[in-house]
């Protein structure tokens, strides 16, 4: 009788030990992304990128001998579903860190639960509210509007422009850009000559441009996503305005050039290096990772890489780098080591996190490009 109990106990201990050792061999990373719904253009490439990396890394032996398991939930671009998914990742799946969400609103909605659960969150959304004020457990990977505006204003300084007109779209993207422009243009010693707005569905911006023309600025900055900026570009040519036109990184895609047609000629904008891999010099620290990402993605999905997928790539690589640096997959250690990240080359830029900076990028994540004969050209 006693003997049988002893054996049973020993067996139980064995099973538990086996369970434990198996647990420690797997590194569980969660992700909550907008794979479907209106924001699917963000979430889909992000999910594809994470799945691709999971297979690739496991095929090469995992992370420091641990098998990588990525659990992806789709929030359908819906904030309620995102909150539920985050809860599930934290309470049931017990992940070591989470990548995502894809959009700012969803990130803001779940941030608090991560600091409560003490699990690091690396968001793929760009709003400044995510990282300012700094929440010790929340990081993000995209470039901020501030970096794009600074890059544009540096270009203005170089060219001696001081009177700037802005034309922004009246949606979330445009209004966030407008606020930063309104703040930084005077701060950089320039004057805001005109501040015009257009609606996301507007099809004619000649009235705004005529008003801007009358103000006589040195340069015009338009802040929006397709198709508005293409209309602005066309209207500008139609009105015969030869003031230089700058765009935001929101239109750094071939689609914009297609829509604006000949009117795109000479437009200048800040773009991430992922949009112009071939023009990045070979000795640039990002070159290798950019080429690797593009080739891997093309091989697996037979599709071009997008900036958004890059945010997820960067988020995961930053977390894995923190795991390797600290030789620990405990959420707290991952957080501490994320904060020590220095000059980590990824697809969006070189990340340097610190306790005061959880975005990690600066304006050098952008390159100024000029559109010439239907293609991008680095404008240095």
């Amino acid at each position: 009788m006693k003997f049988a109990r002893l054996i049973a106990l020993a067996l139980l201990a064995l099973v538990l030990a086996a369970g434990c050792s198996k647990e420690s061999e797997t590194l569980k990373i969660g992700a909550v992304l907008s794979v479907t719904g209106p924001a699917s253009f963000l979430g889909e490439p992000e999910k594809n990128t994470l799945m691709m990396l999971q297979d690739e890394i496991n095929a090469k032996g995992g992370v420091d001998g641990r098998k990588l398991e990525i659990i992806v939930y789709d929030d359908e671009s819906d904030v309620n579903k995102c909150v539920m998914a985050a809860k599930k990742l934290l309470e049931q799946d017990k992940v070591a860190a989470v990548i995502g969400p894809s959009i700012s609103g969803n990130t803001l909605a779940i941030m608090k639960s991560f600091s409560q659960a003490q699990v690091p969150l690396v968001s793929c959304a760009a709003s400044e509210k995510i990282i300012s004020p700094v929440d010790p457990w929340v990081f993000n990977t995209p470039q901020l509007d501030r970096h794009a505006v600074l890059k544009i204003l540096q270009d203005f300084k170089k060219k001696g422009y001081s009177k700037v007109a802005i034309l922004t779209v009246s949606d979330g993207y445009g209004q966030s850009g407008r606020a930063v422009l309104q703040e930084l243009i005077p701060a950089q010693g320039m004057t805001l000559a005109a501040d015009e707005v257009y609606g996301p569905k507007d099809t004619d911006m000649t009235a705004q441009l005529t008003k801007i023309k009358a103000a006589g600025p040195d340069a015009i900055v338009c802040w929006g996503t397709n198709p508005g900026p293409a209309v602005v570009a066309r209207n500008r040519v139609q009105l015969g305005i030869d003031t230089p036109l700058y765009m935001s990184h929101g239109v750094a895609s071939k689609k914009f050039i297609e829509l604006a047609g000949d009117a795109a000629q000479g437009i200048v904008l800040p773009a991430g290096r992922l949009a112009l891999i071939d023009q990045v010099p070979d000795n640039h620290p990002q070159k290798a990772v950019l080429v690797a990402y593009r080739d891997m993605y093309a091989k697996k999905y037979n599709a071009p890489v997008s900036t958004f997928g890059g945010y997820a790539w960067d988020g995961l690589q930053l977390v894995l780098n923190a795991v390797k640096a600290g030789k620990s997959a405990l959420p707290k250690d991952i957080r501490d080591n994320l904060e020590k990240t220095k000059d980590f080359a990824a697809t969006t830029g070189l990340y340097t996190y610190s306790p005061a900076n959880h975005n990690g990028l600066d304006e050098s994540a952008f390159v100024m490009v000029v559109i010439d004969k239907g293609d991008w050209k680095v404008a240095e």
């Binding site: 000649t206 705004q208 005529t210 009358a214 397709n226 139609q238 015969g240 297609e258 829509l259």
Partner: protein
């Protein structure tokens, strides 16, 4: 504000206004025959533009042929809408039919999104895109096309409704369908015809606008709304009023953006519309409603 700028606001206002006016015309034609507001009118405009783009891209047709094909196809869609969605429930109150047209518009938009995706597309301008200087303002050749074709359509419709037997028969149907059928008018045929004509007007509008404003699966929503507002402004049921209502709305928006604030241009135009309706509920060119007791 100098004269050239004012002229520029007027020109862009008239061009945008012509787009509202064309949509408003489509509303008027169906309303005149059936007493129904067809909220799928904006979708006809969208189909005209999107099908032109895809006839050019996918079939490689030259632009005039692509536009002709798109317009024909949209007219067929208009006929199908009447046969499949409106006729089976004919005799129901007008409000029911209005709700059905809203359903049709959602369906058409959804299908367009599935087939052509969510992207925006541009059509090349009919005759180049070198702006013509006009008293210091810039005038696009395409704007002239839009204004000329809109005026042509308006004149044609005016003639059709007031001088042809078929046109008069269609008007008769809207006054009293039963009486019209008693005097030997094929009411069903007239309703079918009205859907085809308004699909034609919408599709032509969509095709001539696409080079200026670009097109996507969801352009119909806003155009439908603005076109409807133009109809009300001009007086519901009056083709001339619809066209002029559209032009006025366009110019108001453009002047609002140029002279007051571009952030409030839509609000401004609609505030003026509301104010006008308080004073003249029948619209600018509508006849006051009177009931005989």
């Amino acid at each position: 504000m100098d004269l050239a700028s004012l002229l520029q606001f007027a020109i862009s206002g008239l061009t945008v206004g012509a787009t509202y006016g064309l949509t408003a015309l489509g509303f008027t034609i169906i309303f005149n025959t059936t007493g129904v507001i067809n909220f799928a009118q904006g979708e006809f405009v969208m189909l005209g533009g999107m099908m032109s783009v895809f006839a050019m891209r996918a079939l490689g047709l030259p632009e005039p042929a692509a536009v002709a094909l798109a317009v024909t196809a949209t007219v067929i869609v208009g006929a199908l809408v009447e046969r499949l969605a409106i006729r089976p429930v004919s005799g129901r109150p007008a409000m029911d039919l209005v709700i059905i047209t809203i359903g049709v518009s959602i369906l058409a938009r959804g299908l367009a999104m599935l087939v052509w995706g969510k992207d925006t597309f541009a059509l090349p301008p009919f005759s180049g895109d070198t702006p013509l200087p006009f008293l210091g303002a810039a005038l696009m050749p395409q704007s002239l096309w839009v204004l000329a074709i809109s005026l042509g359509l308006l004149a044609g419709l005016k003639y059709f409704f007031s001088a042809t037997l078929t046109g008069k028969a269609m008007l008769a149907c809207s006054f009293d369908a039963k009486a019209a059928s008693l005097v030997g008018i094929g009411v069903r045929r007239m309703v079918l015809l009205s859907f085809m004509i308004s699909a034609f007007v919408g599709a032509v509008g969509g095709a001539i606008l696409a080079p200026l404003t670009m097109t996507s699966y969801d352009v119909g929503v806003l155009l439908g709304l603005k076109g409807f507002a133009a109809c009300i402004l001009g007086g519901l049921g009056n083709p001339f009023g619809a066209a002029v209502g559209g032009l006025i709305l366009g110019v108001l928006e453009s002047l609002g953006a140029g002279l007051v604030s571009s952030a409030y241009k839509d609000a401004l135009a609609f505030v003026i519309l509301l104010a006008l309706l308080f004073v003249r509920p029948q619209g600018l060119f509508g006849k006051p409603e009177s009931k005989r007791v």
